[in-house]
């Protein structure tokens, strides 16, 4: 066999990819209200293909449901919402490119999109340069507050810190950290280590695996060897399936060593197999089982639109909320124009499926209730602990002494 040919072939395959990453779209005209006649266009930008499609498709579905509900109720300011859906293709430069397209070509009033922090970081300069709005619906690592992004998922003090508090209250003193190798897990673990150092919790190990990694036997062996009280899991995407399947045969059980996951929701539990993860803990702000009137109708509407076998999850709910919160801000501002919406957004509240959630005017995050849940054998998540009401967002953890060295 002619290896020379193979090398040339591989090069030919890689070249277009390299060229594509070098492409940067031209900045378009300034801000816009996306309105033309009796319509307001909004952008929906998630990965519909590639490794992140597994998660992001469901968020798109929830956002489109919210748009549909708003239209059924007469639209916003009497205008019909027209969603423009684009595919970020699990590729961060593509997210930036498509965001630019939505802003300058489709002239949308707002974009709802992104999942990974890498995609958000790629889109951030595009939105700031064009003075356009991004609504980002996923829990993330904090330490960010762009004037042109609204964060409807949890920041660290609404998810990771409460989860650590919960573990500490359960007497878990020795922890093992497992994460995917990119910005969210590394930043999250930095925060966890600062917390642990201040509260006398021992961190026995900190391990990262590449995104899409599927071989966890060595890592599981390291965990068994370290004998921690709990494992803090910031793995993302398909790796969670491999991790939990391989953890199960190792003799580590939820009873002695619970794994706390912050990126595993109802949808992921189905892919992992409930029997492989039952008994382990997750930390979110919303579960399909959360008992609020708004959630009852959300779950019902979602199943009616997409099928009775579908589940709802935290990022889906946050995406759904993002659309509803934006609509409320537009109504208050009396226009979909970006700066007016930003001005009007502070204090906007919504009785969301997760309970009452309010936009914080300064950092453009939302107040959310933290919830710790246990995965059930049927794939649903049962809440075992919730914070006393919504926690104010604190993306830079300014209210926590132990976090002073982080930001």
């Amino acid at each position: 066999m002619r290896l020379g040919n193979l090398h040339r072939a591989l090069l030919a395959l890689l070249l277009p990819a390299l060229l594509a990453t070098g492409c940067v779209s031209e900045p378009g005209a300034g801000s816009t209200d996306g309105a033309s006649g009796d319509e307001i266009r909004v952008g929906v930008l998630h990965s519909l293909s590639g490794t992140m499609a597994i998660s992001e498709v469901t968020v798109r579905d929830a956002e489109l449901l919210a748009v549909e509900e708003l239209n059924a109720a007469g639209g916003v300011l009497g205008k019909k919402l027209v969603p423009v859906v684009e595919d970020g293709a699990s590729d961060w430069p593509t997210f930036a490119e498509k965001a630019q397209k939505l802003i300058s070509q489709d002239r949308v009033a707002a974009v709802f999109g992104g999942w990974t922090s890498a995609s958000r970081k790629a889109m951030l300069p595009v939105f700031e340069r064009n003075k356009a709005l991004l609504w980002y619906p996923v829990q993330y690592e904090g330490l960010e507050s762009s004037p042109y992004i609204f964060y409807t998922g949890a920041t660290t003090n609404q998810q990771i810190v409460p989860a650590l508090d919960y573990l500490a209250s359960q007497g878990k003193k020795r922890m093992f950290l497992v994460g995917s190798d990119y910005v969210f897990p590394r930043t999250a673990n930095k925060i966890i280590k600062a917390y642990a150092a201040a509260k006398g919790i021992e961190v026995l190990g900190e391990e990262y695996t590449p995104l899409g990694h599927t071989e966890y036997s060595t890592l599981v062996n390291k965990i068994s060897d370290a004998r921690p009280d709990a494992v803090f899991n910031t793995l993302n995407g398909d790796s969670n399936v491999a991790f939990f399947k391989q953890l199960r045969g190792s003799g580590i059980t939820a009873g002695t060593t619970p794994v706390v996951s912050v990126s595993v929701a109802e949808e992921e539990v189905r892919g992992i197999g409930p029997e492989n993860i039952a008994g382990h803990l997750v930390a979110w702000n919303y579960y399909q089982t959360t008992r609020t009137p708004a959630n009852e109708s959300f779950v019902k509407a979602f199943k009616a639109k997409y099928g009775a076998d579908k589940v709802t999850s935290d990022p889906m709910e946050a995406g759904y909320n993002a659309v509803k919160l934006w609509a409320e801000a537009v109504k208050k501002a009396g226009t979909a124009e970006v700066e007016a919406v930003r001005q009007a957004s502070g204090g906007i509240a919504l009785d969301a499926p997760e309970g009452r959630t309010t936009i914080h005017g300064d950092n453009q995050h939302v107040a959310k209730t933290a919830r710790i849940g246990v995965v059930q054998p049927d794939g649903q998540i049962r809440e075992v602990w919730a914070s006393d009401g919504p926690i104010e967002p604190d993306p830079y953890l300014k209210g926590y002494d132990w976090a002073s060295g982080l930001s």
Binding site: M1, S224, D225
Partner: protein, 292 residues
């Protein structure tokens, strides 16, 4: 230290997974020079076959799924060879792009049919849990995969050594022109090779449902490792694939134990590149007289 001893069976089981995913590729790539980027998607087809059979058969569906997945993935491979690849022989660059395209089409097809989220294949009860042997923990599913890989190697070895079809396949691997001159219908051998190679990918897919995600992206996680094993082992050589899988499995297991997963991956790649500089033909070279 117990953990260090634990790494021995882990290295072996990583090797078993690598071997299963690479076994089929070593023939399609080795014999026909087809850089089959869609090999990973045949693995995916096997995994989804296991998923579908679980609904139809229930409890012990995994055992039923092994032969069925072999047939389904094999026939799909046959179809691909017959409809497209045979028109592209001798053009490795074109087959690479062609099969890359086929792999994207199959991924999207899976996404449309089964949905983007992962699906779940429930392991039968006897594959859950593990057993302690001399203080070393052996998960049942890993033991099963290792046994399955050994069985596949044994089967393929017997096929190549004892059956006339297998001997014809070896003849074509060693010297296509001479084999054709001796009256071997190389076109038919190519088709049966593709059937076998793709079928083995299907079997690997069923096994991987025990340890990994089952979704449209499944193939993309394993395709690079599969090529790594084939290239390091030597093209079209069963013994080479086995040796390379074992070497990479243990290397991966111990390097990850001493460092971390990302670094181990880098080191393994570096090791393979360095090895190929010294021995471009791979561990087990094909002895032939052709100049190619």
């Amino acid at each position: 230290m117990a953990a260090l001893a634990n790494q021995l069976p882990i290295g072996l089981s990583i090797a078993a997974v690598l071997l299963l995913i690479a076994l089929g590729l070593t023939f399609t790539f080795g014999q026909m020079g087809v850089v089959n980027m869609a090999h990973g998607e045949f693995i995916m087809v096997g995994a989804y076959t296991a998923y579908l059979l679980q609904g139809a058969v229930g409890g012990q569906s995994l055992l039923v799924a092994l032969p069925v997945a072999f047939a389904v993935a094999g026939l799909l491979g046959l179809l691909l060879e017959w409809s497209l690849i045979r028109r592209f022989y001798g053009r490795p660059l074109d087959t690479l792009l062609l099969t890359w395209g086929v792999s994207l089409v199959l991924q999207q097809l899976a996404r449309d049919v089964f949905g983007a989220p992962n699906v779940q294949v429930t392991a039968p009860a006897w594959l859950v849990g593990g057993v302690d042997v001399l203080g070393v923990r052996l998960p049942h599913n890993r033991v099963f995969i290792t046994a399955l890989a050994a069985l596949c190697v044994l089967g393929v070895g017997l096929y190549l050594a004892k059956l006339p079809q297998g001997r014809r396949m070896r003849a074509v691997v060693q010297n296509r022109e001479l084999a054709a001159c001796s009256g071997i219908a190389t076109g038919r051998v190519d088709r049966s090779t593709f059937l076998l190679g793709s079928g083995l990918a299907g079997v690997a897919g069923v096994a991987l449902t025990l340890v990994g995600p089952v979704g449209p992206g499944l193939g993309t996680f394993y395709i690079v490792d599969a090529f790594l094993v084939v290239v390091a082992g030597g093209l079209g050589r069963l013994r080479g694939a086995v040796l390379a899988a074992l070497a990479l499995g243990f290397l991966n297991g111990y390097l990850e134990f001493w460092t971390d997963a990302s670094l181990a991956k880098v080191l393994v790649f570096v090791a393979v590149i360095a090895f190929l500089q010294i021995r471009p033909q791979g561990m087990v070279a094909l002895r032939g007289r052709s100049l190619g």
